[in-house]
Symmetry: none
Subunit: 226 residues, 2 copies
DNA sequence: TTAGTTTGTAACAAAAATGTAACATTTAAA
DNA sequence: TTTAAATGTTACATTTTTGTTACAAACTAA
């Protein structure tokens, strides 16, 4: 997944949360805390999608939207509007401001992600790919397949999830705790050594002759792709 | 599915959305943002069907329609009219402008597709094929028949729906939950193991000697065609 | 260097997922 | 009604996956 997303939202905690998660998913993210700055930075950033809060300190979401539709350089920018409960949702949705989708706060990140994908898929199909790639490694989330050097590799379920996790931020080093949290089902307790064993299994699976090792061990810290 | 569809609609986001999805479904699509241009390009493009917005900046949908009916070269072109909510739907539909069908915005793409198929089926039966195909497997939705390697195969109702579901996105892996949601009638509760059994029955039915297995098991994830 | 820590590896047993057949119940057809 | 077809469920066999352990190897710091 790749693509640029801009956020205009006056609540810093929401920005932080969303931005962090989007980046984890491979998006490039920038943001503004108010409408006027947002409109300016928007044009510089040239995003593929805009997350827009309905209530802002200066301009309303609708006004920003209208501004965007008038501006030829960003006329077709897809917009997902964030509205707080109680903001008379029906009224808002009724207004034809050219918004592509709406999301009512509070929302889960998964919801948001689903909407983003849907919107991007129709506006800019190339932006959304459910393939994760790194060097000659390709992981297809839809078909649940993994290829190295174009040749398919068979992975067990945990190996698959493990690799998927690493591929989101390939070069980042993850501690065993982080890996556990993200790759294993919640609340399940396994020894930290278990990870080592699965790393070993994954290594065995994705290694092919004459090709360099893809998983790096960072002593006393964890593992990463490399 | 094949055939040419022309769109006259002044909202670029709708055009983009509809066009992309129609193309994904095998149609050839062209469009105009206003009525006058639309009428000209229409004649060049020679579509099998026209999607026509009711409210346009210059001509109204009705006027365009009248123009078309007067023009011998495109006299019988089927038209689906798109109307926004609040445009006094009843009044519009009452007018005998020779429109074949109406659709009120906002509409889902599935709705639109269903209407398009219906209209095309009666105007130009050869344009619409409701066959799903994958490798040597053919599923005919109209006649409810399935063929493998040109020879007909008998499937039970659930087997048929199951196969139909897989054939829409053949290589995609679906979880048991997803299969349940899409293949079984809503709100019906069946054990997840039930799916396995039906998969097994489907496999038995569609397998023929010396041919590779068509259903892939992805352990701990689900099933897909392959 | 040496001792202590960390990691790689293989083996094994336990647990989980899946394939298969059989059976009872429901539904549809004749 | 009678008969056949379709369906959901269960039980059991088989395969795959998983966690853990034990030991070897590699690394680090003094």
């Amino acid at each position: 997944m790749n693509g640029k997303i801009f956020i205009i939202e006056d609540e810093p905690s929401i920005i932080q949360l969303v931005q962090h998660n989007l980046e984890k998913n491979g998006f490039l993210v920038s943001s503004s805390l108010n409408g006027n700055d947002g409109l300016k930075e928007l044009k510089k950033f040239q995003p593929d999608l805009l997350l827009l809060d309905w209530m802002l300190p200066d301009l309303s979401g609708i006004e920003i939207c209208k501004n965007i539709r008038k501006d030829n350089s960003i006329k077709n920018l897809p917009v997902i509007m964030l509205t707080a409960k109680g903001e008379e949702e029906d009224k808002i949705k009724g207004l034809d401001s050219g918004v592509d989708d709406y999301l009512t706060k509070p929302f889960s990140f998964n919801e948001l992600m689903a909407r983003i994908k849907a919107v991007l898929r129709r506006s800019n199909p190339n932006t959304v790919s459910d393939n994760l790639e790194f060097e000659d490694l390709v992981l297809d989330r839809i078909e649940k397949r993994v290829y190295r050097d174009k040749k398919e590799i068979q992975l067990g379920p945990t190996e698959f999830r493990l690799l998927e996790f690493f591929l989101v931020n390939p070069k980042r080093v993850y501690s065993r705790d982080q890996i556990l949290e993200n790759v294993w089902p919640n609340n399940i307790n396994v020894e930290s050594r278990t990870i080592d064993v699965h790393i070993r299994r994954l290594r065995k699976s994705i290694n092919i002759q004459n090709k360099k090792e893809l998983i790096r061990t960072v002593r006393s810290s964890g593992y990463s792709l490399i």
